[in-house]
């Protein structure tokens, strides 16, 4: 029921289909083990919270075992943009992890700021600050791309 949303959220953050697949599977496994203790109305939030923490764990593990991998945020784009979506994806990847996560929970999943705070462990005010910064960055990035093309 929530597999598509979880997969989209994790894939956009991790940028690797296999890793995203693993995180969604791990999330379902963790959630199903505790299914008897989860309230139905909190199930979606619980799944995203679990997916978020599973993803962070996996990102940390990947980074510690692959220190030679270049930081995507420092890479330059060498090809041509084929569309607005590609440029937007490029911009998304350049956001700090936390900004990208909270923005996606807001725009893709429609969570309110308090719920995003619960999932990520941030205060509502911090969530808003990160989302504001992310939106400013995306806007400025896309305007700069527009000017180059």
């Amino acid at each position: 029921m929530y597999a598509d949303g979880l997969y989209r959220f994790v894939l956009k953050n991790m940028r690797d289909e296999d890793d995203a697949h693993d995180v969604v599977q791990d999330t379902f496994e963790k959630v199903w083990v505790k299914v008897d203790t989860i309230q139905y109305e909190k199930a979606k939030s619980y799944m995203f919270t679990t997916a978020y923490h599973t993803m962070i764990e996996k990102i940390r593990r990947n980074r510690s075992t692959d220190l030679d991998e270049a930081d995507l945020s420092s890479q330059t784009h060498s090809g041509q943009y084929t569309g607005a979506n590609e440029a937007l994806n490029e911009a998304l990847q350049r956001l700090p992890d936390m900004q990208r996560s909270v923005l996606m929970l807001r725009d893709y999943e429609g969570y309110d700021y308090a719920a995003i705070g619960e999932i990520t462990g941030l205060s509502e005010s911090q969530v808003k600050v990160y989302i504001f910064r992310a939106r400013v960055f995306l806007k400025e990035y896309l305007v700069s791309i527009d000017n180059v093309l």
Binding site: D4, Y7, Q25, L88, S125, K128, R135, L138
Partner: protein, 74 residues
Amino acid sequence: MSRINHDNYEAFLLDMVEGTISAADREELVLFLAQHPDLDVDLDGLEFATLDDEGISFPDKESLKKQVYLVLMN
């Protein structure tokens, strides 16, 4: 004492963009920005787009069903 500071003023700016800011907070925010011109915020230029979900879906739902089955059987 003002509730708005350097750490949280962007949260109030977001509320302003989304039209959810209260009249009192708006007044306080405008005052704060006037007192901190170094922040260089153009209130008139604040407007954002939101993201589309692009229709991405999980490619392996059968594996999740098997997982549920395994958990339920144990």
